[in-house]
């Protein structure tokens, strides 16, 4: 066998595709949002026009998939093996903590956990993958892929900035909730014309009764419930990361990098 058993000393540079596709995806998501906000449709008595629904659905989903296509092939296998755990924890911990503690959603603890351990791109990929996988059981989450990607992305950024301390995590969670809520509002407003639960629906109806437009009402509702939800999710995820023993934590990119930096300092 003539093939060398070792890899060349210099690691290959990230291919252009891997840098371009996520940027393209993010741009598409941003453009979709701007278009929907700026050209906000007027509401006729007969209901909504259909183009905002199609635009929100297609633009967000396509942007999220582009993002995923760029990120996924670059992820190390340690992270690839971690993502399914994150996706299952999203559901299990959500149900579990949600049913025993508070009347919140908490369907993103796993995504935040992956973001904390493996960084921005892994977190974003987890968000998108979660929407794709769970749409097999609940199709309505499909167009929310972009919002889920934002949560994972911001969790990764927050961890870099030290969000693993619980009180920082709460603040980072609130900020993430604001951004993710705003990004997701057009989907709730234009694709479904409502929210996924009765309680949130009542809040939207209240704003509507006070004279706000549909998008504004849904956005305001998201600004009420999402920051609280994400603050709890970030807090729980940061406590879980702290409970991990060092040996396991160091197997994942972000904590390993932080440890290397500390060792150098």
């Amino acid at each position: 066998m003539s093939t060398s058993l070792t890899l060349p000393a210099t690691g290959g540079a990230t291919p252009l595709r891997a840098r371009l596709l996520p940027l393209l995806g993010a741009a598409l998501i941003a453009a979709t949002y701007l278009m929907l906000v700026l050209l906000q449709p007027t509401e006729a008595a007969a209901g909504l026009a259909s183009w905002p629904a199609v635009t929100a659905f297609a633009g967000y989903l396509a942007g999220a998939v582009l993002l995923l296509a760029g990120v996924l092939p670059q992820l190390p296998t340690t992270v690839v093996a971690l993502i399914p755990v994150g996706l299952v924890l999203n559901i299990v911990l959500g149900q579990f903590v949600g049913s025993t503690l508070v009347p919140l959603y908490l369907d993103s603890i796993g995504t935040v956990l992956v973001g904390f351990l493996a960084g921005r791109s892994a977190g974003a990929a987890t968000g998108v993958l979660g929407s794709l996988v769970w749409s097999l059981f609940n199709p309505t989450v499909l167009p929310f892929a972009a919002g889920a990607a934002v949560i994972g992305l911001l969790a990764g950024s927050a961890a870099r900035l030290g969000a693993l301390r619980p009180y920082v995590a709460v603040v980072a969670g609130i900020i993430t909730g604001i951004v993710a809520g705003v990004v997701s509002a057009p989907v709730a407003a234009f694709v479904y014309g409502g929210t996924s639960g009765a309680a949130t629906g009542a809040i939207v109806a209240m704003f509507r009764a006070m004279g706000d437009s549909l998008l504004a009402s849904v956005t305001k509702q998201a600004l009420i419930s999402d920051p609280a939800d994400k603050a709890v999710a970030f807090l729980v995820a940061s406590l879980l990361v702290l409970a991990l023993p060092r040996r396991i934590r160091l197997q994942f990119p972000l904590p390993a990098r932080a440890a290397a930096r500390r060792a150098k300092a």
Binding site: L5, T6, L7, L244, P245, I248, L250, A259
Partner: protein
């Protein structure tokens, strides 16, 4: 394959994980590398498998010769990184936990075997032929169409070894290939290893016990202690093994057990149990007495009766899948019998609350991962609900008895498997139960751990506690228990008195 490891150090580790090791593995040979917990066996496995040092930051000084090439490590922080896709053509490694070796994303065993071949880009017809050949040689034919998620522990290990062997690697590294298997499954795995060697595969077995069949066949042997080879060659290894924390045959307890008292600690009378039908298994049925006749599942326990007296240690033996674990869980009220009575220290286990039972009886589960969640060993052992927290002196005693005083401030997950098992045992002991129920306590314990376990059992018996433990290790049962109760497949167990 030839290894020369002058030293290996993990990042931030104070001491060397391995040093001064030389090993040469000729084709068709069987090499046994023995050592207690934390002796460096898994580090050696990682280096042989090619994933250490990799990019983990570990520092290796030495060289490895494999398939006519040589990889040199200079002990620096930027070692050469092995190309695993090439390396795994020559070396395959199967861990003790075979389940984590299987990809779990394939729906049949045949497809699972193909996983590595697919990644290597083997053309489909050739894949078909190789899998058929491996299945025939390793006698796996009946398993090929099964779902990998529904295999027994022994079958999982056979499939993992086959999945490693099917890729045609010349060197096969196996970590504890026989641990936790009953006699029949262990014989099948040992037979498989023999057939692979006959075909020219070099097999390296990492183990903490020299009791099983493999140790007797080994042409080469190496004994590790704290990362240093302390004996070379089968005879020398056998002589020094006990001191290095390796389980050796014929190591009994120092003193005979005192005679049991008259009072019953744990009593099973006419216990019956059937598996619920898998298709309509109810979701939440942790504690609900079922009507067996109406349920009509597969019978597991039929009319089991025996008694464990206070101050008596009883071993529960029998092949995998005969209901040992079910019987043990009944003592804590976690599973309720379909019929019959289980009495624990005078309480009816089916009627009493789990919390009430837990205050008189303690249960060690098979998998310590289900139990441990605190950040240090001491906090783990001290944990309890507000009113029944173990007393500090009980905690100290339990830590001491399990040999954990020195690591009381370490995270349980940082410890080797053997000590993690002892942490779980310490959490049970700290509550000072009158009835001690242990599920496979010897599995994953090395020689030192077993000696501690033996002493703990003797102490418990001496203070009048009743002990019921399940085990495949008949020698341990003979030397540490008053008697054994054998469960057979579907056969009502009789209290077969014996032993001492």
């Amino acid at each position: 394959m030839e290894l020369r490891i002058n030293s290996y150090r993990y990042p931030d580790a104070a001491r060397l994980a391995l040093s001064g090791l030389r090993l040469s593995v000729p084709p068709g040979s069987l090499t046994v590398v023995a050592g207690g917990a934390g002796s460096g066996k898994s580090t050696l496995a990682g280096i042989m498998a090619g994933y250490l040092p990799g990019r983990t930051g570990g520092r290796l000084d030495g060289s490895i010769r494999l398939a006519g090439q040589s990889v040199e490590y200079d002990g620096g922080g930027e070692p050469p990184v092995v190309d695993l896709r090439q390396w795994t053509r020559h070396v395959a490694y199967v861990p003790q936990d075979a389940r984590s070796y299987l990809s779990m994303i394939r729906s049949t065993v045949a497809e699972e075997l193909a996983f590595g071949l697919e990644n290597a880009g083997v053309p489909q017809p050739q894949m078909e032929a190789r899998i058929a050949d491996a299945a025939a040689r390793l006698q796996l034919g009946s398993l090929l169409q099964r779902d990998p998620a529904r295999l027994s522990g022994g079958q999982e290990r056979l499939v993992a070894i086959a999945a490693a062997a099917v890729c045609g690697a010349g060197v096969l590294v196996l970590d504890e290939p026989l641990a936790g298997l009953d006699a029949a499954a262990a014989a099948r795995v040992a037979g498989t290893i023999g057939r692979l060697r006959a075909a020219g595969t070099a097999v390296v077995v990492l183990t903490h016990t020299l009791v099983d069949a493999l140790a007797a066949d080994a042409g080469q042997a190496l004994l590790l202690r704290d990362g240093v080879p302390v004996a070379d060659g089968p005879d020398a290894v056998h002589r020094h093994a006990a001191k290095a924390g390796v389980v050796v045959p014929g190591a009994g307890p120092e003193a005979a057990l005192p005679a049991p008292r008259a009072a019953a600690a744990l009593e099973y009378r006419g216990v019956r149990y059937s598996y619920p039908e898998p298709a309509r298994r109810p979701r939440r049925r942790l504690r609900g007495r079922r009507d067996a006749a109406q349920d009509g599942g597969q019978p597991l326990l039929a009319d089991v009766s025996f008694t464990v007296a206070a101050g008596e240690c009883v071993a529960l033996t029998g092949p995998n899948g005969t209901g040992k674990t079910t019987l043990l869980k009944m003592a804590l009220g976690l599973i309720r019998p379909d019929g019959g009575i289980v009495r624990v220290a005078g309480l009816d286990a089916a009627a009493a609350a789990v919390g009430e039972l837990a205050s008189v009886a303690g249960l060690l589960f098979q998998n310590p991962a289900d139990q441990l969640f605190e950040r240090t060993v001491r906090r783990e052992v001290s944990f309890g609900p507000p009113r029944s927290r173990p007393a500090p002196d009980a905690v100290g005693e339990a830590l001491e008895a399990c040999g954990l005083s020195a690591v009381a401030d370490v995270h349980p997950y940082e410890l080797p498997a053997s000590q993690r098992r002892l942490v779980a045992l310490a959490t049970v002991l700290a509550r000072r139960p009158r009835v001690l129920v242990l599920d496979e306590p010897t599995v994953s314990l090395d020689g030192h751990g077993r000696a501690l376990l033996g002493r703990i059992l003797a102490d418990a018996v001496a203070r009048g506690a009743g002990v019921l433990l399940s085990t495949h290790d008949l020698e341990f049962a003979r030397s540490h228990c008053h008697r054994a109760v054998a469960l057979g497949a579907g056969v009502p167990a009789a209290g077969s008195g014996g032993g001492r």
